[in-house]
């Protein structure tokens, strides 16, 4: 053969010889190779759009933020109660129009700056005051309120420094009863003022906080964090934390089973049984979870302006079957939007499926045989892993009662927009709360004030009675009174049936068997400060 052929063959042989070096069962992700340092690889479905806590509104940004930053108070690991973090003590004034926090001593940001009252105040003032130098505005645009601040912290009038370790909040009206939970949100992360001074572009891409992990860098969609050796909570057991994006849940889980990643942020319902049966994998679940899925009926449109039709729909839906098939038995049917376990949940007895009664109500309302369209989203959501299956089943359920349902699928963005603008008759939607409190469900999703497009109250339910109860609950401080008011409100909503609450969806995650100290937070994004990984054999 010619020399060229010989050389070509040699190259091919070399390549083939190198192949076995990469083949075989994939080694441990990141591995314990580099001198005994542990790397933890966590797979999630999407990238983080921004890393400025004041701006972020999505869970993927939050995942990075909760590990790099601290807040004044935080949710206990694995629970929904609040405990000290950067603040070690707090005291509210009697008229509830002021609150002082005492800060932890000796805490420094990753860039060395001290985390003192001035730093904390700068963080809150920049969100409150549109003219603050650190309130980042796009060039040529008027300043806009930060998303969470506007919604939740509207009553904060001022934040001020009392002394080096004391911060004071002043309110324009008595503060909301769940104010501490609000402070635990990732949007209240304390950012280093030195970093803030470097401008919007810097903070969005280089988070500098006081948290358990420091920012290392980004490789496309892959984000790397390193352990903060001087964290006030103790050095994390993991040296390197890597977040990777694996769009399909099945793909991510396959990588967990083959050892290419150490943890997966969500499990497809179908994968849960096999994951539980696999000794190399640990499944983490939060029993009922906070995400809820519901079938919204547009109360402004026929035939759903008639309460009998709405009750008929509520009677026709077969929730247990839905939970069993479309959710693989993982979700819990709910009678009210507020899931069990959340403060303010009322244990109402749900309607049992009664097709005959549903039909009778429809006949009475002269709505039998009406054609309606059910809109649903084409992308999986936290509360609806398989929207197509849910929509299909709802269609069949309603057909049994006598309503002809046509399905309409849209991309998530278009679907949400259409529903917020009231273009639907029936629509599938859901909600993941920002705060584990009944207010964040009932007020946001059912109060008449939310019924203006782009509405969160996509049922366009406008009940004065309901509004009165929820508004009173917002001002009540006695937990017993709040619960009573919310229970009444939920009963009103149950009778009026503006929407049909379907299921509450648990959060699931999975880690490799050698991972210890990973607890799934019901409220917060996963935190890795207390997680460790057993050294794996190569």
């Amino acid at each position: 053969m010619t020399s060229t052929t010989r050389r070509a063959l040699a190259l091919v042989a070399l390549g083939l010889a190198a192949l076995p070096l990469g083949c075989g069962k994939a080694g441990p992700a990141g591995g314990a190779s580099a001198g005994g340092r542990t790397t933890f690889v966590y797979a999630r479905g999407k990238d983080s759009p921004t890393l400025d806590p004041a701006e972020a509104t999505d869970g993927e940004s939050a995942l990075v933020l909760v590990n790099v930053y601290d807040t004044l108070v935080r949710f206990k690991y694995g629970a929904a109660t609040v405990e000290p973090a950067l603040a070690v003590g707090w005291e509210a004034a009697d008229d509830r129009r002021a609150m002082t926090f005492t800060l932890r001593d000796g805490v420094r940001f990753h860039d060395g700056a001290p985390c003192d009252a001035a730093a904390v105040v700068a963080n809150f003032e920049r969100q409150r005051d549109l003219a603050h130098p650190f309130h980042f505005t796009a060039p040529g645009q008027p300043p806009a309120r930060y998303p969470y601040w506007g919604d939740m912290f509207g009553s904060v009038a001022k934040t001020s420094v009392v002394d080096v370790r004391t911060v004071r909040f002043d309110f324009s009206e008595p503060m909301p009863p769940f104010f501490l939970s609000l402070l635990a949100m990732f949007s209240c992360s304390i950012v280093s003022p030195k970093a803030l001074a470097r401008g919007a572009g810097y903070v969005k891409t280089h988070p500098v906080g006081t948290g358990a992990f420091t920012w290392v860098g980004r490789d496309n969609e892959e984000i790397t964090l390193a352990a903060n050796p001087s964290w006030w909570g103790g050095k994390p057991a993991i040296d390197k934390l890597v977040f990777v994006v694996v769009p399909e849940l099945k793909n991510a889980y396959a990588r967990l089973e083959s050892g290419q990643v150490d943890g997966v942020d969500n499990l497809a319902s179908k994968d849960v049984p096999r994951a539980k049966a696999n000794p190399a994998v640990k499944v983490h679940e939060v029993a009922t979870g906070l995400s809820v899925c519901y079938l919204a009926m547009n109360n402004d449109r026929k035939p759903f302006d008639d309460v009998r039709v709405r009750r008929a729909v509520a009677l026709a839906v077969d929730k247990p079957r839905l939970a069993a098939t479309a959710y693989e038995g993982l979700a819990t049917p709910i009678a009210t939007l507020v899931p069990p376990g959340v403060e303010g949940h009322a244990p109402l007895a749900d309607r049992v499926r009664d097709v005959k009664e549903a039909r009778r109500l429809l006949e009475e309302a002269k709505a039998v045989g009406t054609k309606v369209t059910l809109r649903y989203m084409g992308n999986p959501r936290p509360y609806a892993p398989d929207p197509g299956a849910i929509a299909a089943q709802l269609r069949d359920d309603l057909r049994d009662a006598g309503l002809e349902v046509e399905l309409r699928k849209d991309e998530w963005g278009s679907h949400l927009k259409a529903m917020q603008n009231g273009e639907h008759e029936l629509g599938l939607l859901g909600w993941t709360p920002d705060v584990p409190d009944a207010d964040n469900y009932l007020y946001v999703l059912l109060d008449k004030e939310g019924a203006v497009p782009p509405a969160n109250n996509v049922s366009f339910y406008r009940s004065e009675r309901f509004h009165g109860l929820v508004a009173a609950a917002r001002r009540a401080y006695d937990p017993g009174e709040r619960r009573r008011l919310y229970a009444d409100a939920q009963r009103v909503a149950f009778d009026d049936a503006p929407l049909v609450p379907l299921v509450a969806m648990p959060r699931t995650a999975a880690t490799a068997a050698g991972v210890e100290g990973f607890v799934l937070d019901p409220v917060s994004s996963p935190r890795f400060a207390w997680t460790s990984k057993a050294a794996q054999a190569k």
């Binding site: 921004t50 572009g201 490789d219 890597v242």
Partner: protein, 346 residues
Amino acid sequence: MSGAFGYVGRRVLVAVPLLLVVSLVSFALTELLPDPSIARLGQHATRENVAAFRARKGLDDPFLARWGRFVRDATTLEFGEDLVRDDGTTVGAGIRSRFPATFELALAAMLLAVVLGLVAGALGAVFPRRLADAVAQVFALVGASVPVFWLGFMASLLFAVKLEWLPHPDWSLRVIAPDAGPGGYATRFLFLESIARLDLGAVGRALAHLALPAMVLSTIPLAVVTRMTRATMLEELGRDYVRTARAKGAPETRVVTRHALRNALIPIVTVTGLQTGALLGGAVLTETVFAWPGLGRYVAEAVRSGNGPVVVAGVFTFAATFVVVNLLVDIAYVLVDPRLRRGGAT
């Protein structure tokens, strides 16, 4: 000589307005895409947030103003800001960081298809109408008939899960070259750079991770290459010079490889260029199945989330690649075929 270079030169001149029109069409197409503010801000966004976001990104400006901005951004090759990645990342940076992954995947798939296709086609030409021929042809055709994503499932099920011969493709520096030292690699061409650095471990890992998606993607051009090889080789093997060579006593393998195959390469090169379009299209589906961090997946997701600038820039990049490859094929054609070089009629 001038005839040939004039021909190529004309093709280059035509390419520029072509690409401009392509970008205009795709820009117009982004008008129809969903609103990106939902993808970026999530369900909890208020009307105020959405309005502020849209104003900040200039999404409500008139069409011509936006088109003008795009052209201006295109000249810097940054193509403006990524709408969904709201941290100032430019689309250009996003494309530059993902293009190498698609390029290496397409390259691997094309090489695989060419090698396998040459072998299969040659076998078919040398033993026409026998079992080997039929098997080769059917094999190639079946590959082109099976949906790429189904093939992807089945292949990963077989090789990555059941047999555990190959890993699930995990194309990142951390996995391919973990010992790359500080600063990592200079480029994102993980495979090519690992070869250049003679890092055998990295080369092996790169091949292992490339194997599955490249195999699946190669089925697309495979059928065409096989058929082309077989047809041209049959033609060549029937020619006089082959008969002469045989009469002179040359061994059959020599006749096949040195003569027939060599001459069959010209149309194969042409076909390869033309298949780039199909290959890039197939890359989109393949990248989605395997979670490959390439341009195809980037643009496909951008279409779903309404990330206009990414769509336009991505389409532009694909089209430009297609045009450049075809241009290179034309040049290679002109250089290889002596008849063309003399400026004679094509």
